[in-house]
């Protein structure tokens, strides 16, 4: 397989133009940390962006950073951390879940658009991408958005690029919003709730004025293996419901206590401090209970997004039907489900129930064989699917970029 190591945006243009001419679809990679996600691709060359790794500018007081797409995410996170800033949407590190060596690049983070627990409060990757330079499937460099937060000049193409899995354009440089890190974190822990009760507690917390920035529930099965980050929760192996409060110390403590009082009908909670909170929320963000080297490492994993207040009932039903394990984030709006292996990863059983709950389910981890056999991304109604396809066509009519990643059996 050809590997095209590009050095700058001009190289990307050339490579894409050559791919168009030769009708050779290319797979866009940075570190390759998420190559195992999606429908197996029908590509026969790699467009390698690792060399596009410069930080073009970082202006802490403007709350923005502009970096090339191939910049290692870990380095960029360290850079902004030194100024006490972060990406507020908490990019998910899929390394443990997928059994890959690292978190990948900034471009991969945006292309996948995977937000962590703070999604409920701070928004997703799409809300933090302010601008981008990219090369379309026409082989043309274009820019979208700008370098300021408040901008309504023209269509907001950045929204499309975030979460497009590299199927619309090759991003070469992005401008991202950064935010001050909270001074202090508190976690209110409730124990022993079943999934539906936990969902109700999280709903009540998110409907309170206490500005909850994380709401997750781990049924007892989540403690099957020894997940390091969860050690602080003790070894009782009972379900835990976790509510995060962040801000200046006085405020976070006050809100944690006040929320605990409001949730007394669900039992007396305990409050954890910064270090324990950081470890726990990282474990939830990165789905560590389903890690590739853990007891469920061989099970397929689904990522299910649904209306949050119905998450508990849906997750419980899915766990029962599939014999799998679930964990809940986003107050019930995000369910990670690990299910015992079947040729279809239990899609036939799972998807109708997700549909009925008004959600959608993506097969996040599975063998290549399983990912070839079923729709990895949730099938859409015909009208919506048609519109999505026309949008894709407007960016990449020859299907040169990451061909086949989003949809099975689509015509070349």
């Amino acid at each position: 397989m050809d590997i095209l190591k590009v050095r700058d945006a001009k190289d990307v243009e050339q490579a894409v133009r050559a791919a168009i001419e030769g009708e050779q679809p290319v797979e866009i990679i940075g570190h390759g940390s998420k190559r195992r996600i999606g429908q197996p691709m029908a590509t026969n060359a790699l467009l390698d962006l690792q060399a596009l790794n410069a930080v073009a500018s970082y202006e802490p007081s403007e709350l923005i950073i502009t970096v090339q797409a191939g910049a290692p995410l870990a380095d960029v996170i360290s850079l902004i951390d030194a100024k006490n800033q972060h990406f507020a949407f908490e990019p998910v590190d899929t390394a443990a879940l997928l059994g890959m060596p690292n978190i990948g690049t900034v471009g991969g983070m945006i292309g996948a658009g995977l937000a962590g627990p703070r999604r409920i409060q701070a928004g997703g990757a799409r809300d933090h991408l302010l601008g981008a330079h990219a090369v379309s499937g026409f082989g043309d460099s274009f820019k979208a958005g700008g370098r300021v937060v408040k901008n309504v000049t023209g269509y907001d193409l950045c929204k499309l690029l975030a979460g497009s899995w590299g199927t619309l354009a090759v991003m070469t440089e992005v401008t991202l919003k950064v935010m001050p890190k909270p001074e202090c974190v508190r976690t209110l822990v409730l124990r022993g709730l079943d999934d539906v009760s936990a969902n109700r507690a999280m709903t009540m917390a998110l409907g309170s004025p206490f500005d909850v920035s994380g709401a997750a529930h781990l049924p007892h099965s989540a403690f099957r293996g020894d997940v390091g980050g969860l050690a602080e929760l003790g070894s009782g192996r009972e379900p835990v419901t976790l509510l995060r409060l962040e801000g200046i110390a006085a405020s976070a403590s006050h809100r944690a206590a006040a929320l605990g009082e409001r949730l007394l009908p669900f039992g007396l909670g305990e409050i954890l401090g910064d270090a324990a909170s950081d470890a726990i929320w990282r474990a939830i963000k990165d789905v560590q209970p389903f890690a590739a080297d853990g007891p469920l490492g061989a099970w397929p994993v689904w990522r299910i997004i649904c209306p949050p207040a119905g998450g508990g009932a849906l997750g419980e039903a899915l766990a029962r039907a599939t014999g799998g394990d679930v964990i809940y984030d986003w107050g019930g709006g995000l369910i990670w489900a690990a299910v015992p292996p079947r040729p279809d990863a239990q899609a036939a059983l799972l998807r109708p129930q997700v549909d009925q709950a008004g959600g959608h389910a993506m097969l996040f981890r599975a063998t290549e064989e399983v990912r070839s056999a079923i729709d990895v991304f949730h099938p859409q109604p015909a009208g919506l699917a048609g519109l999505n396809e026309r949008v894709r066509h407007g960016f990449d009519p020859k299907r040169i970029l990451n061909r086949g990643r989003l949809a099975r059996s689509s015509p070349a």
Partner: protein, 497 residues
């Protein structure tokens, strides 16, 4: 300045009677308006210097009617201009002589309030404020708060991606909408998103928001609602130098504090507002900051102190801290009345809307002052300082020959300066017709072509709201053509492995 609109289709105008009759068959009774007198209120939007009677006005009251109207227009090749409450400040709802004006004013119902999922499902004609009012009894509100919120419709907010004073902390419309029902020009009805945090597929809701009525007609919207913060307090800080106020804004953000709102006014704006509402603004300062902190009382009290210290360190000459809701509202009263207040000291004014990086604020103000001298027109400045969104108000008299042209040229120069300083043409008012011809200042032809290819995915015939946003609208067939990059398609000069 003349803004050229697309040439009228004489064949369509010639068929006007038949078109009116066909529309009446779809939307019966008073839902079709075709008399010149009755169409008068629809001739312009909030950009009142521009007027144009539409060919006919249609006010459907169901998704099915919208769908049939659009399908008819699509089949007949008739242009359509969608309209909410008509408060656009950029001419987004300006009619065309040969177009159907499609008003969503009858879509006035809130369809569902779902406190558990923290979402409201609403029709597009509901006003922004009505949504907050409908959920206030449970302590919730809808965060984006454009100044026109008592009148502007939520459908128009989505079309324009409206902002407001509080979007520094709570985001713009795009960060607060979850889904919609949209009717395409073909009449096809599509549902996007819902009560989930994210939808499957491309983020179409993200591009529909802020698309200025060029992609489809929205007939239902699901918005996210939030709990009201426990308390809010404001500081009113005066500075002898604009630069010091700009520095104060930067230092507050730099200290990790994101206020609920952070507004700046310059001397002319302060004086106009104080004369109008008597908010107690200091008159001996060059710049005034209104900084609002919200959250639990314990947090607000501490942050107020931190902000006060920062302000003193930047050389503030006066600082008042609200000690009651009434006092906080009074601080805001002047800022919120700044536009009408300026209206009292000048026969006409033009409100601009560029965004710059926060740090460029002093430079931008200096440039605006220079331009003011050069054009011989006064200007009053109000800013959403926290996010660098400028609203210079250019004062002029439309009755003086040539003065409106001069004011518009001044405004265009300000927006060019915004782009030069690393900012953008519009922060929240939209491009519409007002900034359409300035788009090339920010985007090159390739950039604009890519945006128009998105338009083609939704509206291949270019019938929805033509003449807005894009200086030239290319035909979709032309945009879809693959370029031949002659000579460049040879083996690329790349390391291969």
């Amino acid at each position: 300045m003349t803004i050229l609109m697309p040439a009228s289709d004489q064949a369509v105008l010639g068929r006007r009677d038949a078109i009116v009759a066909a529309l009446r068959a779809i939307v019966p009774g008073e839902g079709v308006i075709d008399s010149a007198a009755e169409m008068l209120p629809y001739e312009s939007d909030g950009l009142m210097a521009y007027r144009q009677p539409p060919m006919v006005v249609v006010l459907p009251d169901s998704t099915e009617q919208v769908s049939r109207v659009l399908q008819y227009c699509f089949e007949q090749g008739i242009k359509v201009v969608p309209r909410g409450s008509g408060t656009s400040l950029s001419g987004g709802a300006l009619p065309l002589a040969d177009a159907v004006l499609l008003g969503l004013g009858k879509f006035k119902r809130i369809r569902a309030i779902d406190f558990d999922n923290r979402a409201v499902v609403t029709e597009p004609g509901v006003t922004n404020l009505a949504i907050s009012q409908a959920v206030a009894h449970a302590g919730f509100y809808y965060a984006p708060d454009p100044s026109s919120q008592i009148a502007c419709s939520i459908g128009g907010n989505v079309a324009e991606n409206s902002g407001g004073v509080h979007c520094l902390k709570y985001g713009m419309t795009t960060n607060n909408v979850l889904g919609c029902e949209i009717v395409l020009i073909t009449g096809e009805v599509i549902r996007i998103g819902g009560k989930s945090a994210e939808s499957a597929g491309y983020d179409l809701m993200g591009v529909i928001t802020g698309s200025e009525g060029l992609l489809g007609v929205i007939t239902e919207i699901t918005v996210r609602i939030l709990q009201k913060p426990e308390t809010a307090r404001a500081l009113m800080v005066g500075f002898a130098e604009v630069e010091a106020a700009g520095e104060c804004v930067a230092r507050i953000i730099g200290a990790g504090i994101i206020p609920g709102g952070m507004e700046m006014m310059d001397r002319p704006a302060i004086h106009a507002a104080e004369a109008f509402v008597h908010a107690g603004y200091p008159l001996d300062v060059e710049a005034l900051l209104i900084i609002e902190l919200d959250g639990p009382a314990i947090e607000v009290d501490e942050l107020i102190q931190r902000v006060e210290t920062i302000a003193l360190g930047c050389g503030s000459t006066s600082c008042r801290i609200s000690s009651s809701e009434a006092e906080r509202n009074l601080f805001w009263a002047g800022r919120k009345a700044a536009f009408p207040a300026v209206g009292r000291i000048s026969p006409d004014y033009l409100c601009m809307d560029g965004t710059i990086p926060r740090g460029a604020l002093p430079k931008a103000l200096r440039r605006i002052r220079e331009l003011s001298d050069q054009y011989g027109l006064r200007v009053a400045n109000v800013f959403h300082a926290g996010d660098g969104n400028l609203h210079p108000l250019i004062l002029y008299d439309a009755n003086k020959p040539g003065e409106m042209d001069k004011a518009e040229a001044f405004g265009a120069d300000i927006l060019r300066a915004c782009v030069e300083l690393g900012g953008v043409l519009t922060g929240e008012h939209g491009v519409g017709i007002e900034k359409r011809d300035l788009m090339p200042e920010m985007f090159n032809e390739i950039d604009l072509n890519q945006q128009q290819r998105l338009k083609c995915a939704f509206d291949a015939k270019g019938l929805l709201n033509p003449g807005k946003v894009f200086p030239t609208l290319h035909r979709c067939a032309e945009l879809g053509r693959m370029h031949v990059h002659a000579g460049q398609l040879a083996f690329p000069d790349l390391p291969r492995f």
